[in-house]
Symmetry: C2
Subunit: 221 residues, 2 copies
C-alpha cells in the first residue's frame, strides 16, 4: 500500500528517506568489505527482470547471489535457485518498492561468506515509479525497459530513467511485431542520463546477454 503525497505525508517522508539512506550506507559498507558488487534492477511488472537474472545466473553461477523483491509469492526466487544461484525472496506484503532496511534483513539471512561470491543482484518490485527514490546500497542501478511497453516510457518516468547507470532494452525478439523506436528511446534516455550505458537484449533468446554480462563483470573485476 502506497501513501498519499499530501502535505502531511511529505513532511514525514524526509526522515524516512534519511533513515533509508543510513541503512543503504550500512549495506554498501558491508558489501564493499566482502568484495561484493551490487546491482539494483528496476522495471515495470513483466519487463523480464527475472528472465534476465536467470540468464545471468547461467553466466555467473555461484559467483552471483540474488535478492528477489515481490509484493507476494516466492515464484521468482524458486526460478533463480533452479538456474543455479543462491536466492532470497523478500515478500513486501503490499509495499510497492524495496527499501534499504528490507535489503539489510535479507543480507542478515543470506550466506555471504563464500569466497567465490562477488556479485549481488537485487530485483526490485515491478514498478517504474516508487523504487526510484530508494537507494538500496547498490553500485549500479539498471533500468529495464521491454519493447512491448512502448518507446514513450523514458520521458513518462523520469524519476527512474534520470537515475540509472545502465539501460537494458529487453524483448528485442518482439521488435518485428511492434512499433518501437530504439534510437528515440536511447536519445531520450541520454537526455536524462548523459552517461548511461545501453544494451539491447532478449533474455528469452539470449541475444545480447553475453555482452551485457561481460560488461557487468568488467565493472568489478
Amino acid at each position: 500500500m502506497c501513501d498519499d503525497a499530501s502535505e502531511k505525508i511529505v513532511n514525514i517522508a524526509t526522515p524516512v528517506m534519511n533513515k533509508n539512506d543510513r541503512f543503504a550506507a550500512e549495506n554498501r559498507k558491508l558489501l564493499g568489505e566482502k568484495g561484493i558488487y551490487t546491482l539494483n534492477l528496476i522495471s515495470s511488472p513483466g519487463a523480464g527482470k527475472t528472465t534476465v537474472l536467470e540468464s545471468m545466473a547461467r553466466f555467473f553461477g555461484q559467483r552471483m547471489a540474488v535478492i528477489e523483491g515481490d509484493v507476494q509469492t516466492r515464484r521468482d526466487a524458486e526460478r533463480i535457485e533452479k538456474a543455479g544461484c543462491q536466492a532470497w525472496q523478500i515478500e513486501t506484503g503490499g509495499a510497492c518498492h524495496l527499501d534499504a532496511h528490507a535489503v539489510k534483513h535479507a543480507l542478515d539471512h543470506m550466506d555471504l561468506s563464500s569466497e567465490e561470491l562477488e556479485l549481488l543482484a537485487i530485483e526490485n518490485v515491478g514498478n517504474l515509479i516508487c523504487p526510484s527514490g530508494y537507494d538500496l546500497g547498490e553500485d549500479m542501478r539498471i533500468g529495464l525497459l521491454s519493447v512491448p511497453e512502448g518507446d514513450d516510457k523514458i520521458l513518462k518516468y523520469p524519476s527512474l530513467f534520470s537515475t540509472i547507470n545502465v539501460l537494458l532494452i529487453n524483448k528485442m525478439d518482439l521488435i518485428p511485431h511492434l512499433d518501437f523506436d530504439v534510437d528515440i528511446t536511447i536519445k531520450e534516455c541520454r537526455s536524462l542520463s548523459p552517461d548511461v550505458e545501453v544494451f539491447t537484449v532478449s533474455a528469452r533468446t539470449g541475444e545480447g546477454m553475453e555482452e551485457f554480462c561481460e560488461f557487468v563483470e568488467s565493472s568489478f573485476s
Copy 2:
C-alpha cells in the same frame, strides 16, 4: 514519490484514505446526477491502456470523455483528443497513483454539460500496486494485463486483481510469439474475484474490442 510503509506512516494513512473516500463519494454523486458512468483503468506501464481508450473513443465518440493520469507528459491526452474525445490530463508530478481529489479537480475543469456525454474513462497512472487502494468514484474497475507481461502477474498483484470487475487481457496478437496461458490467468483471477468478467483483446488490431465496448455500453444503457 511514494512513502515508506513504516509504522509512523501507516498511522497517518487511515485518515488520508478516509479523506480519499469522501472525495470519491462526492465524485460518484456528481457523476451519477449527470448520468455519467465511470470506469477506472489500472495496469502496468505499457500494457496498452491508451490504445484501448483510443479504440473506445472511436466506438463511443462524443459520448465518452477521458481523464488521463501520468507522472509526466501530456502525450496520452493528445492521443485521445486525436481519436475524437474530450480528454483532460492530470500530471501527478511524481505521485504513483491517482486519488479522488485529483479526479475532482479534473471534473471541475471539464465540460460535463453535454447531454450526449454518458461515459467517463479514467486512465490511472501505470502501476499495478499503488492505484488499487484508491477509489476514484468509479462504477467499474478494469484491470488490464498484457500478454508480454506474463501469466504469473495475477497472484503477484492480488491487491489489484481482487478488486476488479473486469479483466481485459490485451495484446492477444502477440500470443503466437510468447508463452502465456490464458486459461491459468483467468482461473487465478477468478480465485481472487469470482464474478470478474473477462475479455481477450488486441487494442492494436481491434480484435475483441467491439465485444468489450458493447459490454461497457450495456452496463449503463
